[in-house]
């Protein structure tokens, strides 16, 4: 700024010197005055320019701050590289939160918990004394079961589940609470093996190990009720093997203290041998007939070498009326299921034909004079006792057609021979209609006409059932209930 001032003064003086023609006093004063005015003008212009320069500098600073603010949102923000890292860290945290929400179980809790309720409203044309049913004649409402399901992983090597069932006693109506299943199953055995231990439904046949509320119809088929005794519940061990083949084959063997509807042991305090256990097995396979048509087939066997007087001593009756005691249980089964499951719309349309044939070949000790009856004055062998085998057959076959996401209907045919007297036979015909409002809420209407052979002495009867089943919470019985 000083150099600029000096240059300005020199320029002004030179101009003045050039313009002075003579050395007169008046002129000198005039020239001094002009010089003074020019100095003042120069200083004023200089001040104005300096002010302009300062103003421009302020504007420039302000603009630079605005640009910096646009690049970094906060004055304390770290450099750009650190910001990218922060964004990545934030993204990773979001991903972790998303991943943390991915639970493997469908239930809200661990273990998964669910409840199934099942109510049966019915009308029977005859009373229990004429049908052999455990339900009375006429109108009837029956809370068949309230089932609590709890399942989860035990550790990396096993899972476990418990099914507790409260059902009304068929006679008294009082609730009976019991553990229907409580089992542990391995998840990491080598060689494609799975071991199940505890109380569970042993794998025999096609529908023997399916819970009542998951059957395609209201009631368990007569053959399963007669030969297995309801669901195939057992306390024992079961080993399943998936052979390493391209074809699906499943092999199951098991051993248990009871199987199905065994009566309580007649001699619970006695010494028991291994042969008093139940042994069972099942071999099944599957074929894709076409992409939409499937065939599943299996054979099953159940053997109890010594039934330990199942049902009690002389509690059974032979065809000729002689009292007898079961001492060996033999049961074989053959089953298949043909299904039409269209890949495109199987939620809306499907067809299933399932059939199971059972052959019972139990061995009995016949006691014509009833001398073994504990109520006899002197219970014991009298020499008239003899062994007898009774072969009997049972079969059920059903067709279910689904034509809508909510609607399906079908027909069940039942036939069974009494395992103690094969002349005593029962036939049942049951059309049924199912309305599934959702996966968890289902109504089923079924009519059943039951007829009997003359040997049974029972009249035909008719029944109408309305079943209402519902599920809350988690519910899955896994692969076997597919």
């Amino acid at each position: 700024m000083k150099a600029l001032t000096r240059f300005g003064l020199a320029f002004a003086l030179s101009a003045v010197a050039i313009s002075v023609p003579a050395q007169e006093t008046g002129e000198v004063q005039q020239l001094h005055q002009q010089l003074q005015e020019m100095k003042e003008n120069f200083e004023r212009v200089q001040k104005e320019q300096r002010a302009q320069i300062e103003a421009l500098q302020k504007q420039l600073d302000a603009l630079q701050r605005q640009q910096q603010a646009a690049v970094t949102p906060a004055t304390s923000a770290p450099p750009a590289t650190a910001t990218a890292e922060q964004v990545q860290q934030l993204q990773d945290k979001v991903n972790e939160v998303v991943e943390a929400q991915k639970k493997i179980l469908p239930g809200e809790f661990n273990p998964a918990i669910g409840v199934v309720g099942e109510t049966i409203f019915s009308y029977h044309s005859r009373g229990a004394d004429q049908t052999g049913s455990d339900r009375p004649g006429g109108f009837d409402a029956f809370q068949r079961s309230v089932e609590l399901n709890v399942s989860g992983s035990v550790d990396p090597f096993a899972k476990a589940w418990v099914v507790a069932n409260a059902s009304a006693d068929a006679q008294s109506g009082e609730a009976n609470f019991g553990i229907e299943e409580a089992a542990l199953e391995t998840t990491s055995l080598p060689a494609n093996l799975t071991l199940t231990a505890g109380r569970f439904f042993g794998e025999f046949g096609r529908l023997g190990y399916i819970h009542d509320h998951e059957l395609p119809f209201v009631n368990r088929p007569l053959a399963l009720d007669e030969y297995i005794g309801g669901e195939s519940r057992t306390d024992g061990l079961q080993l399943n093997w998936l052979p390493p083949l391209n074809q699906f084959v499943s092999l199951t063997v098991g051993v248990g203290d009871s199987f199905g509807g065994d009566s309580p042991l007649a001699n619970p305090g006695n010494y028991r041998v291994f042969s008093e256990a139940n042994f069972w097995g099942r071999l099944s396979t599957y074929f894709d007939l076409t992409p939409d048509w499937q065939l599943e087939a299996g054979v099953s066997g159940l053997w109890n070498p010594n039934t330990d007087d199942r049902g009690g001593v002389n509690a059974l009756t032979a065809a000729n009326g002689d009292p007898m005691t079961e001492h060996e249980r033999r049961l074989a089964g053959l089953d298949f299921k043909v299904s039409y499951v269209p890949l495109r719309n199987n939620e809306f349309r499907s067809l299933t034909w399932g059939t199971e044939l059972l052959y019972s070949d139990n061995r009995y000790l016949v006691d014509p004079d009833n001398s073994l009856n504990p109520a006899s004055p002197v219970p014991g062998l009298t020499g008239d006792e003899f062994n007898a085998g009774v072969g009997s057959l049972g079969l059920y076959s059903y067709v279910t057609y689904k034509w809508h996401r909510q609607w399906s209907g079908g027909f069940l045919f039942d036939w069974v021979q009494d395992p103690q007297n094969h002349d005593n036979q029962a036939f049942a015909y049951s059309p049924y209609l199912t309305w599934a409002l959702s996966h968890w809420n289902q109504l089923r209407l079924q009519y059943t006409h039951t007829d009997h052979s003359a040997a049974s002495g029972l009249p035909a009867d008719d029944a109408v059932y309305l079943q209402w089943a519902w599920i809350i919470g988690a519910h899955s019985h896994g692969w076997t209930q597919r």
Partner: protein
């Protein structure tokens, strides 16, 4: 004698070469995927190193693949299981995994590959109560209908292959980059073609399309289903028709696995165009690959708008 020796040597050499070649010929990596999009990605990334089997053929509902026992031998020997995630396969996959007796593909093991890793889901429900239908607790699982999110799934598959089979890492990475470049070029073309779809309103049978709508700027009005997995009631249909009329919704989307009757009725009552859109490759003819399917989706929607 010399000839005999020479012949023996030749046979020995042939045997040695054959045996060496046999042992050097590594067994292919066995991949099972739940849906066909993932199978297409796996083939593109895995190349010659992989043998891929998809449980779905493409025409199924993504939530309703039948649980066939014939799947078990495949799953039993699988090295990797690729799934969509977000609970998409909850109705069939957990039981299949359990029955397959293959610890490699169980949840938490390296062979269990959830391809939704890194994807921010939309539609995460506040409640999983069944009054809301068969909701997906982790969010809408149909993210592969957004091709940009499909890139993430491709990268996840590559990462899983590299993690499990690092000896082929270079091949997998090269294949992934090549496929993503191809996908990127298609994405640019799809976005350009779909410019006319911006702001276009539509309804669909099931809630398959939120990611698709978001990517291409469509306005997703609602579903024909009352709730996920729950069939529509007459009242719901009436309300939907009124809403569509009020908002002048021009398109009704029917996914091919759902019946046509109700969507056709709604389209007729509202004057909207009914279109059939696949939800995975193979859902309709000529959509065998993911890119072909996306081509079909864009082409069909643009065609519907042009009507």
């Amino acid at each position: 004698m010399k000839m005999k020796c020479l012949r023996s040597l030749v046979w020995a050499a042939v045997a040695a070469v054959t045996l060496t070649g046999w042992s050097a010929q590594a067994a292919p990596i066995r991949i099972v995927t739940t849906l066909t999009d993932l199978a297409d990605f796996a083939r593109n990334v895995g190349g010659d190193h992989v043998e891929v089997f998809s449980l779905a053929t493409g025409i199924e509902d993504t939530h309703g693949v039948p649980m066939k026992p014939s799947f078990l031998p495949r799953l039993n020997r699988a090295d990797l299981l690729l799934l969509i995630g977000f609970g998409c396969e909850h109705a069939f996959l957990p039981a299949l995994i359990e029955a397959s007796k293959n610890p490699r593909i169980e949840y938490g093991h390296p062979g269990y590959v959830d391809c939704s890793q890194g994807i921010d889901p939309v539609g995460v429900p506040k409640s999983t109560d069944h009054s809301q239908g068969d909701v997906h607790p982790y969010g809408n699982p149909h993210y592969l209908l957004d091709p940009v999110l499909a890139r993430t799934a491709v990268s996840n598959i590559c990462a899983a292959l590299v993690q499990n089979f690092p000896q082929y890492a270079a091949d997998f990475t090269r294949n992934r980059d090549a496929y993503l470049a191809q996908l990127d070029a298609k994405i640019a073309a799809w976005e350009q073609a779909a410019a006319v779809l911006k702001g276009v309103k539509f309804v669909s049978y099931h809630e398959h399309w939120p990611y698709f709508a978001k990517r291409f700027g469509l306005d997703y009005i609602g579903t024909i289903e009352l709730k996920p997995g729950i069939d529509p009631t007459p009242r719901h249909i009436e309300e939907l028709v009124n809403e569509m009329k009020a908002q002048h919704v021009p398109i009704v989307v029917r996914e091919p696995q759902f019946p046509e009757k109700v969507p056709a009725l709604i389209a007729k009552q509202t004057g909207a165009t009914l279109v059939k859109l696949p939800i995975m490759p193979g859902g309709v003819p000529h959509t065998g690959t993911y890119i072909e399917m996306m081509d079909y989706l864009i082409r069909t929607m643009v065609g519907a708008v042009a009507k």
